[in-house]
Amino acid sequence: MPNAISTSGLTKSFGSTRALDGLDLSVKVGEVHGFLGPNGSGKTTTIRVLLGLLRADSGDVELLGKDPWRDAVELHRRLAYVPGDVSLWSNLTGGEVIDLFGRLRGDFNRRRRDELLERFQLDPTKKTGSYSKGNRQKVALVAALASDAELLLLDEPTSGLDPLMEAVFQDCIREVKAQKRTVLLSSHILAEVEALCDRLSIVRLGRTVETGTLDELRHLTRTSITAETVEPAQGLADLEGIHDLEIDGAHVRFEVDTDHLDPAVRRLAEFGVRSLVSHPPSLEELFLRHYGDELAQEPERVDRERDTTPLPRR
């Protein structure tokens, strides 16, 4: 399967701030790819490089087989973009703005536009100056989803939507996915990523730290186990990959690196298992633990990076 997006070793600095520090990203055609990372980690900068608004200092970047800086206009016929902070012309109505974007892109589908306005419950006669953040976001979403673009670049597109609209958004993205179109979804709403994304990349300080399917990433982290045994469990602490072990008589709780799950369960079985509950890590735990671990293990490195690379502006 060819890549819709591939970057390698992407760097970008703003003055002394290093926003991207060797970022690698590959998004396959037809997949919904989650793009995760804390604030200021370089997600928006990456998307703006992909749009050809910023020129990377070094590294390779290819979008739909072309150079986003040089072939911007040509590429933009094939993609649609929704920014996280949608700023519009306050004296134009939402309907006017949606039509404008549709005509500029050149593949305007009036029927789908009206249907999306209905689904997102957006009043197209209101001036955008009177819209809330969520409604401004809906304008950009309707404009993007009404197009036939083969690639959608969505930068925290739902940060202002209410839960009902979030559900509508997820339905829309599933439809896009069913049409084999590609989506890059930067998001902080982990449930949304978990629900929609085939694969995801986690960035930190301008660098990709993890990439893969959710299952693959889960293997990198821990499963939490709560069990009741016939006899008090012993010797668990000697095993590799066991953390936060708590034994209270017959009750035992611990977390185990997913790679070391098998020996831990075998050891438990020696003491007679009465009940056992195992929780796979949620994306949130995965996300937090990833950073928590790095912060805990490498405080010096992190501090040093913080000193030299203040968080970039969005």
Binding site: F14, R48, L51, G52, L53, L54, R55, A72, V73, E74, H76, R77, L79, A80, Y81, P83, D85, V86, S87, L88, W89, S90, N91, L92, T93, G95, E96, V97, D99, L100, F101, R103, L104, R105, G106, P124, T125, K126, K127, G129, S130, A140, L153, R313
Partner: protein, 529 residues
């Protein structure tokens, strides 16, 4: 007085935020007053020279229309008040309008006032803090100007009257801007509305001063000049200005409590649910975004052009039968006094209209910093097309404004008795300024493309051109500096004959600057850099 809680803290916050802007306004205005005084002392070294120019100016309708009624012109003080009075008051009014607009409606429109008002801060605190800041700036500029004039050896009473008239005109227009900020929810409309009031004030004064002086009483600038600095000062005309400033401020605060935060008094109406057919390409969008500004500026330019055309026939009758004086005033350039008058009028109008041209060209940058350019550039619209659409409006709008001014001046000149045969020549005399305005557009986009942070310098360049145009001779600027202003290179029609070469060269320079700007824009990053 809980409605004023937090005023002191907010005032200090404003001073901290805008300290550079405040300092530049104060230093520039006071320096200009000082330089004008020194220039006039050099221009008229003897009493005989002063007497001669005083006698000539009393018959010069053009100078009266630009500067004010002739009073006390046989003294250095009187000349300073004549040459710098009306212009200085306009600059102070602009300072007050821009500061008041950005500190009140600007903060509100940006949503920052909402955060401030969520703190234990009174409903009128920000308004009062802004008013205090603007008042203090006017007091400092007026006070320092008076001090500088006194230090130059001018009479104390006249200098103080002059300084106080500056302060009061500044306060009145600060009040106008504050009132506008309550009526509309758009900061640009605040600037535009207050600017129209300022233009009307200047024009009313011009017509009044040419006539019997009655109309001047309806203009804050005209009223301030009735205090006659350096010419038997009288204080009482300043009192109505104080009253007007207070009434405007009280009215604005009364309106504040009648509206919601973020809203104007005029509620936003629903608009069309879908876009008109022409709103489907960058040029259509640029036109739609700038049509309000173009209409506003067009109305203002129409009024000014009509007023100056109306005054036109008076210029000759003022001078009467004194042929020698007429030739001297015409500067021996061959043109008649009326022609010289129209040449100066169109230069003034072109300089004013350049305000639109720069505002319009800077739209390229303001769309970018507001992150709206991202949305357009993420569609198949190239950076060239995006920028060129706004520049096209700037350049075509310049021509439209000049055409409006030329036609209005020609028609009213004809109606007032000057004869309709002048309409075509006055139309052309206005249009020749187009290439000079295009150069200013080119400068703005060149700055945008190469050093986007410095795009605001375009305004400073325009101010420099205005100062050069009106005070260049008084300031004794060397020729090589005067010649830097594109407005100096324009053939002074109808006084001079039409020469195409300078217009062609200027158009080429404008095109070159635009090309540099667009190329720079294509090579740099887009965003708040």
């Amino acid at each position: 007085m809980t409605s004023l809680t937090g005023t002191v803290a907010l005032t200090r916050f404003i001073l901290r935020r805008d300290r550079v802007r405040i300092l530049i306004w104060i230093v520039a205005l006071v320096a200009l007053a000082a330089l004008t005084t020194v220039g006039i002392e050099g221009l008229f070294p003897t009493q005989a020279a002063l007497d001669q120019t005083a006698a000539a100016t009393a018959h010069n309708a053009a100078m009266i229309a630009f500067n004010g009624a002739p009073q006390g012109l046989n003294s250095v003080g009187g000349q300073v008040a004549f040459q710098f009075g009306a212009g200085g008051m306009v600059l102070l009014a602009l300072m007050s309008i821009f500061m008041m607009g950005r500190l009140t409606r600007g903060e509100e429109e940006a949503g920052r006032l909402e955060v401030v008002r969520s703190l234990p801060v009174g409903i009128h605190a920000n308004t009062l803090a802004a008013a205090l800041t603007v008042a203090a700036m006017n007091l400092i500029v007026g006070g320092l100007t008076a001090a500088v004039l006194i230090a130059q050896g001018l009479p104390v009473a006249g200098s103080v009257t002059f300084g106080v008239s500056f302060i009061l005109v500044g306060l009145v227009f600060g009040g106008v801007a504050l009132l506008m900020a309550q009526v509309t929810d758009n900061t640009r409309v605040v600037y535009g509305g207050a600017g129209v009031v300022l233009g009307a004030a200047y024009v009313l004064r011009a017509i009044g001063d040419i006539g019997d002086g009655t109309l001047s009483w309806f203009s804050p600038i005209g009223v301030a000049q009735k205090a006659r600095p350096y010419a038997d000062e009288r204080w009482w005309p300043l009192l109505p200005l104080v009253a007007v400033a207070v009434i405007l401020f009280v009215a604005a605060t009364a309106l504040t409590v009648r509206r919601d935060l973020g809203a104007g008094l005029v509620a936003a109406r629903p608009g069309p649910p879908s876009a008109a057919p022409w709103l489907g390409h960058p040029l259509g969008l640029a036109l739609r975004l700038q049509q309000g500004a173009l209409l506003g500026w067009g109305a203002g330019i129409l009024v000014i052009g009509a007023a100056y055309g109306w005054i036109g026939p008076t210029v000759d009758t003022f001078i009467g039968q004194n042929k020698a004086l007429a030739e001297m005033l015409a500067g021996g350039g061959g043109g008649s006094l009326t022609d010289m008058y129209f040449a100066s009028s169109f230069r003034l109008i072109a300089l004013i209209a350049t305000g639109f041209a720069i505002q319009s060209a800077m739209r390229v940058r303001s769309e970018e910093t507001a992150m709206r350019a991202d949305l357009i550039l993420a569609t198949p619209v190239s950076r060239w097309r995006f920028a060129a659409s706004h520049l096209a409006v700037a350049c075509a709008g310049s021509v439209i404004l000049l055409a409006v001014a030329g036609l209005a001046a020609g028609l009213t000149y004809g109606l007032a008795g000057g004869g309709m045969q002048s309409v075509p020549s006055l139309f052309v005399a206005a249009l020749v300024y187009a290439p000079a305005m295009w150069i200013m557009v080119g400068l703005a986009i060149a700055l945008d493309g190469l050093v986007p942070r410095m795009v605001g310098v375009s305004w400073a360049i325009l101010v420099a051109c205005v100062v050069e145009g009106f005070l260049g001779a008084v300031l004794g600027l060397p020729h090589w500096i005067s010649d830097l202003s594109p407005f100096e290179r324009v053939p002074q029609l109808p006084a001079a004959s039409l020469t195409l070469l300078p217009l062609v060269v200027m158009s080429a320079v404008a095109a070159g600057l635009t090309l540099v700007g667009l190329t720079g824009l294509r090579r740099r990053d887009i965003g708040r850099i």
